[in-house]
Symmetry: C2
Subunit: 339 residues, 2 copies
């Protein structure tokens, strides 16, 4: 029998907590024998949800945490003061080595702060980037960094490129992933001070497949597999993509039902349209990993459904089995020796 992967699931803090969290865990352990899930949160609520399903009871354990970090909490304060929240309890368990990864739908800022403060960065990693896998017209791209660590330096971006490459190759399965840096023109001399400083450093990296600058216009077409950028820009790109897609879909839906004929047509195109828009479904690829920590922390959407929860749990398994942190360590060590 293969080794068991243990995951800590923060059942609170999401829009669908704890119902969808629990169902995601139940579906995950039913599908994989070698998966064990600690569900952390309000014990009574979680057990009430668990009672609805049949599942292998020896693969799930409920860990009581009476408090909860909400989306209204200020991240740093919440992590410091809400010691009995599901997020802090879960991150502490991860720090203590009780599991291989931690998954949370909760307050993004708090996950970022808590991951760094409680779990800690790997030695040699300067920053821990949040790196969501974003759907494109031709597959998926890793957008790294979308976190809260703004005003990055060039050396940070180089580490992001390396960690992102390892993740895309070994977790998502893209051989020799193309690394691009977000820029405002395709030429090497273009860009702001940070991009101009980072570009030659990426060009020198032998262990990544650097293809140069990519323009934001080509991002939805999958211009690179690993899209490197500073967190402020990455965050803007991620949120603008979400906002624009939702605005367009909303408008198209309104447009389709504007006349009786178009409404009839809308019924006929609906299944195909749904299929098309599914490509932009971010729940397929689990959550956004916070890379470079001592253990894996995954942020899933606040409104994550059981499918996203299940995929995030599997993502931890894949991260562990492919020894991503070992590979990151290896690349960093060899880099340090070079210097």
């Amino acid at each position: 029998m293969s080794e068991v992967t243990k995951v800590i699931l923060d059942a609170m803090g999401g829009d669908n907590s704890p119902g969808e969290m629990v169902l995601g865990a139940v579906n995950a352990v039913k599908e994989k024998k070698d998966l064990f899930v600690y569900i952390v949160g309000k014990e009574d609520d979680i057990k009430e949800e668990l009672a609805k399903y049949e599942y292998p009871a020896d693969q799930i354990e409920v860990v009581h945490a009476p408090d909860e970090i909400t989306c209204h909490d200020a991240p740093v304060m919440a992590i410091k003061q809400k010691k009995e929240s599901s997020m802090v309890v879960g991150l502490r368990m991860l720090k203590e080595g009780k599991a291989d990864g931690f998954v949370s739908p909760g307050n993004s800022g708090a996950v970022l702060v808590g991951g760094q403060a409680i779990v800690g960065r790997m030695k040699g990693i300067e920053r821990a980037p949040l790196a969501p896998v974003v759907p494109t017209i031709n597959g998926v791209s890793l957008l790294i960094d979308c976190g809260a660590n703004v005003d990055a330096r060039a050396s940070h971006l180089v580490q992001f490129a390396k960690m992102g490459s390892i993740y895309m190759e070994h977790v998502i399965g893209i051989k020799n992933p193309r690394v691009g840096i977000v820029n405002i023109g395709a030429e090497e001399e273009k860009g702001n001070a940070l991009v101009k400083e980072t570009f030659p450093l990426l060009k020198e990296c032998k262990d990544i497949n650097f293809i140069g600058s990519i323009e934001a216009r080509d991002f939805p077409y999958g211009a690179a597999d690993v899209v490197v950028t500073e967190a402020f820009v990455g965050n803007v790109m991620l949120k603008l993509s979400e906002g624009l897609a939702s605005a367009l879909v909303k408008m198209i839906k309104q447009g389709l039902t504007a006349t009786p004929i178009s409404t009839l047509g809308a019924v006929m195109v609906k299944p195909q349209l749904k299929n098309t828009l599914k490509i932009f479904d971010t729940t397929e690829h689990g959550g956004a990993p916070l890379l470079g920590l001592n253990s894996l922390v995954v942020k899933i959407h606040g409104n994550a459904t059981n499918k996203e929860v299940k995929n995030a749990l599997f993502q931890v398994e894949s991260f562990k089995k492919n020894d991503i942190n070992g590979k990151i360590r290896e690349h960093l060590l060899s880099e340090k020796e070079d210097v």
Copy 2:
């Protein structure tokens, strides 16, 4: 009779040059008696196009320029060396006060460089931002700055906010326009160093209607009328919006014709869908003004059609009639006195 507005139109350097440029000018002068257009470029080609139409001949004059700046030229070099290009000839005419504005579909970088180098910034203006009017689900927003002047300082962003407000109020006609700064969270303490420094300065400005941070997610919903950001981020937002909209539309079209039933339905929804997507038609609002120069420079799309050309010519008229530069000067002078 009201005063004549004179516009210099760079007929070269666009995908549809000079055909659509000439037709745009012809339609514009046919519609407005008090408009005069200098069409600059290869005289023979322009005259050949003009010969196709009937129009008031006393409202158009062709100015010969034998050379052309293409999209492959490096901006600074091109402006320096291609002295007989339509762009440089046109910008020089503007500098000499022969017209009220200059419109070009050519090389964006060259328009930005040429505008600043040849026409020059107004006294007191630290940077000349490129400020396209971008369609949103609820109207339009001015995205300022999308130019090539990256790594802006807080004082630049404050000027952008003021110039943008004047433009939106007096050219686009939005009373007391809401000014927002692009940020990665709605709270005042969020953001990168630049945003944190700029936020309190904008809050203090009495002559703008500052509403605080806006997240990129809300940009397509028209969260602010004047959306202030540093040029790198603005450029990324503009290009990502264009890329994502085109990718989505492409996918939807493919999806609609995937089955016989959906294809039949597609025929029925097509007129409404077209209407819906027209909202994202950027050609309605002319081009992107380069604000803060001694005279108005407008960059239209490289693939601009005659409609966009015509609207850009009208935009110059509106800019002149509303004395936008006078208003900008007034605000800057009072600011200088305050200091």
